[in-house]
């Protein structure tokens, strides 16, 4: 186990190295300078590029960047005067993380509930309706949903605030917008694995022992039905907590999702790099944790198949 984790971590580092290198050179190949604005003069532009070391050869810039990175310094934003990328992440990420975790928790609970409901109901109309709804919500992009929610609950009914304020109320709309897709995904997954498990021998055994329905459903079946969910949970959490540009933008949430797209548009090289490294790290770790927890839940899964 320890050996496996070490090996995976090693692979993760190699992945990170490639990620950093490729992103670094891609950002530099991108045409356009971070300091380009409508009214800037060529002398000003040259002075700014010199100030940030962008006039140096690209290999030198790369070595400088790696050196700083090894000291944990992600550099300074070119567009936001005096703001370091570390600070950008440390202020933006907690917001995104919180929103992502809440929406994931909501999705998990509601998704599992709906999944079980779909499996145990004897009414075909209910099952059909839920399946249709989940298919529908998988295909609705979250920005469409976000705008619809904003216009209906915010502008039309005036129940909920449109602007993010950090209050409980202002979490409701963005969390809903972010949670709908994973709810649909999770409910379908739980439905299929739950339906499969419900007919297995151990369930028949449990039933015949005279155990209560609730106990059989919640303990015996659910435990087994959740294994496939654990495998997808890692990437799903990573997806949720790395932020959604559109949802953050619409609800003016000061998270990192918004920074990501802005930084690419603005050619803010250091911010692009910093966020890529940060999000890359999260995804690698989330996948690793997901694999390990799978092995813990299901002893049939061997992590180290080759050995």
């Amino acid at each position: 186990m320890v050996k496996y984790i070490m090996k995976r971590l090693g692979m993760g580092l190699v992945t990170m190295f490639f990620l950093i290198t490729i992103t670094f050179f891609l950002t530099r190949i991108m045409p356009g300078s971070p300091f380009e604005t409508e009214n800037i003069t060529p002398t000003m532009l040259a002075a700014m590029e010199e100030n940030y070391g962008l006039d140096k050869p690209i290999d030198q810039q790369y070595l400088m960047y790696i050196k700083e990175l090894l000291h944990g310094n992600l550099g300074v934003s070119y567009k936001k005067t005096g703001v370091s990328v570390n600070r950008l992440i440390s202020t933006g990420f907690p917001v995104t993380l919180k929103l992502g975790l809440i929406s994931f928790a909501v999705a998990l609970v509601i998704g599992i509930m709906i999944g079980i409901w779909m499996s145990v109901t004897r009414k075909n109309s209910v099952r059909g309706g839920l399946l249709t709804a989940s298919t529908l919500f998988i295909s609705v992009p979250n920005f469409v949903l976000a705008i619809v929610l904003m216009l209906f609950f915010g502008v039309k009914l005036n129940w909920l605030p449109v602007l993010w304020t950090g209050s409980f109320k202002s979490y409701i709309l963005p969390v809903t917008a972010l949670a709908v897709y994973p709810i649909a995904e999770i409910s379908r997954l739980v439905h299929s694995s739950f339906s499969e498990a419900i007919n297995q021998d151990f369930v028949v055994m449990a039933n015949s022992k005279g155990l209560g329905k609730a106990r059989v459903h919640l303990v015996h079946i659910l435990k087994n039905a959740l294994i496939p969910l654990v495998t997808v949970a890692g990437p799903m959490i990573a997806f949720q907590i790395t932020g959604s540009f559109v949802v953050e933008n619409i609800f003016t949430i000061p998270g990192i999702g918004k920074e990501f797209v802005n930084s690419v548009n603005n050619r803010d090289y250091t911010v692009i790099m910093g966020l890529t490294i940060f999000v890359g790290g999260i995804i690698i770790i989330a996948n690793l944790l997901s694999d390990i927890s799978c092995a813990l839940v299901d002893p049939r899964i061997k992590l180290d198949k080759s050995k």
């Binding site: 356009g32 380009e36 604005t37 005067t81 304020t165 202002s170």
Partner: protein, 566 residues
């Protein structure tokens, strides 16, 4: 039956779990929000909560509060730094320049109570008002103006985008380029309340320049180039305007309150103005409609239709012109007939109709609403521009050797990839095909790439836009002298250079105006170096109970004497 009960039990269990999870998370959320806010600025309260209480303000009878939407924070609040939109909005609330101009173009004395000009027009002396105070109660002195100017000219300060606007001051250019010293810059404090400028040559528009960021004061000893973030700290970002900064949260909001030390503080009625960053226009409109914000601008044109006739609708006629730049180094655009044919072939009414209600045709390079220096009329209305004429355009193209567009090379029109610019490009393409039977390729580029293309001159036809820095035609016309670094299509015309030079050396406003008209005439009528297409206005919304808004010579709204009526 049993099954149903078990199902319900499952549900209840799940819901209760969900409930627990949520309430815990939101408690943490509330706690963390404060710390996140703190980390991004040196202030105490999370700004976001302020924004949310816009509707609550009506219950607090005494406080008059306005919440406005601003675009993302672009640039800084340092007048000697990267002073763009953010500075502009902030300065209109919190800073007072030496003097400014009202919507009619009349002078309004600000931090200065009077000024004198020497006979040779080279020495300008400003007497500062004795009751001019910073928001901490200290006096605004001549040194505070010099502080901004010298910080902007410091060659080490690579953020000062308006440094070149100071080159009219003796020694400024040398100091900025590193060949001179900052001490040799001839802006001096004669005494605490007397500021003197010595200019290199006559500068008829010097007063207009005083509304540029670099001529605003910044507190000596507090606003420094060493501290890149002084303006984010309300304790350091002292204000001499009607309002003062109390809170700054990077990329989220900033809040200003009434400045008790403002010389005209008795006339200031609004207590608090919160400026919230909202980058999505859809969200801006929604937040306005829910009452979370009270004023916003930069809205899409359908808002103008939706709110037509409403007193909430605000229209700001911007000083801006969009034009086509023909590259003078490219065949056949170096042929005057070809350029004139292109200019005359377009139907600007049709183009603007397809772009939206906030676009208007422009037949001059100096924007339609820019004031003249001699009368109350707009500068561009004082002259007769060219007239669109399809038949004449066809004739001109034939005269240039391309009858009915035959043999005309396929030119590329480069534009920044935005929705409106794409419509503009397609309209131009279609009209040139219909009228002149010539084909144009369209090349959309991301704005950063587009700006590089523009700078390098690697284009044939270019969509170009210029928005005024200050309200004087010279701001537009000086771009095209042969030695200008912003002369992107490489115009080199001795007559033009002479007209600009003459306008800059004469002391007589009427004569100067005539030279400026001569220059614009060469640019757009005689030689068609620039092909103007459109101008635009900004659409905004503002609660109708906000009164007393005033406007400056650029049409920008000011809340200085605004009030909220119940």
């Amino acid at each position: 039956m049993k099954k149903i009960i078990s199902c319900i039990l499952v549900m209840i269990l799940m819901v209760s779990l969900a409930g627990c999870g949520n309430s815990n998370e939101s408690k943490n959320a509330a706690a963390d929000n404060g710390s996140a806010g703190n980390a991004s600025s040196a202030t105490s309260t999370p700004a976001a909560t302020d924004a949310g209480t816009a509707t609550d303000s009506t219950t607090a009878v005494s406080e008059k509060k306005i919440v406005t939407a601003i675009d993302e924070m672009f640039g800084s609040m340092d007048p000697a730094g990267f002073a763009l939109q953010t500075w502009n909005g902030f300065a209109s609330l919190c800073s007072t320049p030496l003097l400014s101009f009202d919507s009619e173009g009349a002078e309004v004395m600000g931090a200065a109570e009077s000024y004198t000009v020497s006979d040779d027009q080279l020495t300008w002396t400003f007497s500062l008002r004795k009751d001019g105070k910073w928001s901490d109660g200290s006096a605004v002195t001549a040194d505070d103006f010099i502080n901004t100017i010298k910080r902007a000219l410091d060659p080490e300060n690579s953020d000062s985008i308006y440094a070149e606007m100071l080159y009219c001051i003796k020694g400024a250019e040398e100091a900025n380029s590193g060949s001179g010293t900052l001490d040799a810059v001839m802006v001096t404090a004669v005494d605490e309340y007397t500021l003197e400028f010595q200019l290199t040559k006559v500068c008829p528009y010097f007063k207009k320049l005083l509304t540029l960021p670099v001529f605003y004061p910044s507190k000596t000893g507090v606003a420094t180039n060493e501290d890149k973030e002084w303006y984010k700290d309300p304790a350091k970002n002292l204000c001499n305007g009607p309002f003062m900064l109390t809170e700054y949260i990077q990329d989220q909001s900033y809040t200003v309150v009434k400045n008790p030390y403002y010389f005209n503080a008795d006339k200031v009625n609004i207590d608090t103005i919160v400026n919230v960053c909202i980058s999505d226009t859809q969200s801006t409109i929604a937040a306005y409609q829910t009452g979370e914000i009270n004023a916003c601008s930069g809205l899409p044109d359908y808002v103008e239709t939706q709110y037509a006739g409403s007193d909430e609708l605000t229209i700001w006629n911007m000083l801006t012109t969009t034009a086509i730049l023909p590259n003078m180094d490219v065949e056949p655009l170096n042929n005057e007939f070809v350029r004139e044919a292109l200019a005359l072939a377009l139907s600007r009414e049709a183009i603007c109709a397809s772009m939206g209600a906030n676009y208007e045709p422009s037949y001059t390079w100096v924007p339609k609403y820019m004031l003249s220096n001699t009368g109350s009329a707009a500068f561009s209305e004082e002259e007769t521009p060219f007239a669109e004429d399809a038949a004449r355009a066809q004739q001109l193209l034939a005269d240039a050797g391309y009858p009915n567009g035959e043999g005309f090379p396929k030119l590329t029109y480069t534009y920044p990839s935005s929705e409106k610019d794409a419509i503009l490009a397609q309209a131009i393409q279609a009209q040139l095909k219909a009228v002149l039977n010539i084909d144009i390729d369209l090349a959309a580029q991301e704005s950063e790439v587009y700006n590089t293309t523009k700078r390098e001159g690697s284009f044939e036809l270019l969509r170009y836009n210029w928005t005024a820095d200050f309200n004087d035609p010279i701001n537009y016309l000086s771009l095209y002298t042969s030695n200008s670094s912003l002369n992107f299509n490489h115009i080199n015309d001795a007559d033009y250079d002479a007209a600009i030079e003459n306008s800059n050396t004469t002391a007589d406003p009427a004569e100067r105006n005539a030279y400026l008209h001569e220059a614009q005439n060469i640019l757009i009528n005689k030689n068609f170096y620039v092909i103007p297409v459109s101008t635009m206005h900004y659409i905004g919304l503002r609660n109708s109970n906000i009164t007393g808004i005033t406007y400056n010579d650029k049409g920008e709204a000011s809340y200085t004497y605004a009030d909220i009526i119940e």
